[in-house]
């Protein structure tokens, strides 16, 4: 009996040992971060020193570049015990440089494996020093956990400040200045009366024809200036072209209908159409209701226009501005009633839909060129010339870049890396 008990005890003890060894092996293989540290430390006999991780090293603090101040970046080298799973997190502590060693405050934490924290609570003009605490957790037999930390050496002194120029955007500034200079230069040339060749844009050449067709058929012209508000440059371009179309409509005495989806666009478009009718010498033909609001809602707007199109069967439809999924719903409905359709947008995803459903499509930049093109005014045409030369420079840069990058001479693409906002 005693022998059996002894056997059972021995086997049980062996099984317990096996289980513990298995658990350890499992936690080392699969465990990460806190859970791993906890399971490894749940042995009651483990001392704090045994689980204390080696400290992080080479803590460097520096002012966050290209910002508005109030921010310091802290970087460090990971603790050698990080890969062993003995680090749960890193606490970054800060104190003003003149205060004593005991005045540290935690300003942020990073998970194991991370080596950077940004202190967004720094005051400009104050000098700070930082230290990084590598933290592990000791789980006691009672189930309580206590953090076991080891501190790095103190960092260099650092001070946050606001910058007056965002150096990440130097390339944008250079390119912007070059393109801006070219545009202004050609505007100047145009002012002096120099003849400028501007390539023909089929969609804009067809505007006269489209308005004329509506006149001949005695039907309306529908002008849709997109679904975005006046802060969108495409909407601005759209309502600018509206002025030219409205002037033609006034001259031909053709009915114009401008349903809009934004109140501010309604106010602006109404003013533009009114001025166009006055410039055409037909202020009496202008009616405020030509420009009317439908709804801000994308599909409600599309549904309302579709209904109007099907009922009123306009001869001509213009879509000029920013469009999303409603583009094809509108254009296909216009196509189904046989209207001549001219679209223009700078939304690349919607361009194929317009190309498929409309007679003419202004692709991207052509939308922005339309106002200048239609006005035939030298100053405006000069800006188009500058824009085209700018495009030529971009093409050259692409060709040169492809050659340099392919030959491995230099990382040309890195010149054009721009930090996001």
């Amino acid at each position: 009996m005693t022998s059996n008990k002894l056997k059972v005890s021995t086997v049980s003890f062996a099984l317990v040992l096996l289980l513990i060894a298995g658990a350890r092996a499992y936690s080392q293989e699969t465990g990460t971060g806190e859970s791993q540290a906890q399971s490894a430390l749940s042995m009651p006999q483990v001392s704090e020193d045994a689980v204390r991780p080696a400290p992080a090293a080479e803590v460097v603090a520096q002012d966050t570049p290209n910002d508005n101040g109030g921010s310091i970046q802290v970087r460090w080298q990971l603790s050698p015990d990080d890969k062993k799973g003995m680090v749960v997190r890193y606490d970054v502590e800060r104190r003003p440089a003149w205060l004593s060693e005991t005045e540290y405050k935690v300003i942020g934490s990073a998970s194991a494996g991370s080596s950077q924290v940004t202190d967004n609570y720094a005051e400009d003009r104050l000098i700070y020093v930082y230290r990084v605490a590598a933290v592990n957790l000791l789980v006691r037999s009672s189930g309580d956990t206590i953090p076991v930390t080891s501190y790095s050496a103190i960092s260099n002194e650092a001070q946050s400040s606001a910058q007056w120029f965002n150096t990440d955007r130097t390339v944008v500034l250079i390119v912007g200045v070059i393109v801006g200079f070219l545009i202004i230069y050609y505007i100047g040339q145009a002012k002096k009366g120099k003849a400028l060749f501007i390539r023909k844009i089929a969609g804009l050449e067809a505007v006269d024809e489209a308005v004329g067709r509506a006149t001949e058929m005695g039907r309306k012209i529908f002008y849709i200036p997109g679904t975005q508000d006046m802060e969108n440059i495409q909407t601005i371009a759209g309502v600018t072209i509206l002025g030219r179309v409205a002037k033609l409509a006034a001259e031909y005495e053709t009915k114009l209908d401008v349903p809009v989806s934004r109140s501010l666009v309604m106010v602006t478009a109404r003013e533009i159409v009114k001025e166009a009718y006055m410039n055409a010498g037909r202020p009496d033909s202008f009616q405020e209701d030509m420009v009317h609001y439908l709804t801000d809602d994308q599909f409600g707007y599309a549904a309302a226009i579709d209904g109007m199109v099907v009922r009123e069967k306009p001869a001509t439809m213009f879509y000029m501005g920013a469009f999303y999924a409603e583009s094809l719903i509108l254009a296909e409905t216009g196509n189904s009633i046989g209207a001549i359709q001219i679209a223009g947008t700078a939304m690349p995803a919607q361009l194929p839909f317009f190309v498929a459903a409309c007679d003419y499509t202004l692709i991207g930049e052509e939308l922005f060129a339309a106002s200048a093109y239609l006005s035939k005014e030298p100053k405006l045409l000069g800006s188009l010339k500058g824009q085209d030369i700018g495009k030529g420079l971009f093409l050259m840069a692409i060709v040169v870049g492809v050659v340099i990058q392919t030959l491995g001479i230099y990382d040309f693409a890195s010149l054009f890396n721009i930090a996001a906002e």
Binding site: D296, L328, I329, P348, G364, F394
Partner: protein
Amino acid sequence: MRREIPLIITAVVGIVFVVQYFIPHTPFNRFQELFSDWFFIIAACAIWLGALNLLKLSIISIQKKRRDWQYAVIIVVSWFTMAIAGILGGRDFQTPGTGFTWLYDNIYTPLSATMFAILAFFVASASYRAFRARNIQATLLLVAGFLVMMGRVLFDDLLFGSIGEEGIKPLSEISDFIMNYPNLAGQRAIMIGIALGTVSTALRIILGIERSYLGGGD
């Protein structure tokens, strides 16, 4: 002065926006947020202009029994129904269980979804026209479109899925190639043009050369 003041405001605001992009220092870093806030405040107030305009035109249409005036009745009834439901719901009108939310969830949302769903049929009819092989370009478009479609609908699994553990997926690879190289290159070309066009338009407006957005005159 009627034209000069808007031109000056446009030029100053335009220049400030350009400058703030390059200067993170106070006060420039706050301008974008400040102007955006003002824009949204003005736009929120201006919504009444649009809403009242819609109501006015609809009521006139009903009064004068214009063509299709019945649709105007629906607009007026819907307008007042949603407005009253919102007002009765008080400050929490958007919380679940209110009349406004019920109308929104059970009428507005299905109607919007219906309009969006119609897009599928329009895509089919537009594709039919666009993909007719009338000339070489249209034929190329047709072939490219066909390959992309085959790759995207996972025909590979059906045709080649049994070969190897992972399966050979030539259609997916061809589809990805078309999307990642010729398609992306074309899109980027368009984006470069758009960026230049935006710069050009912005300069014309800031310099006061483009004035037609102020109303007709050049």
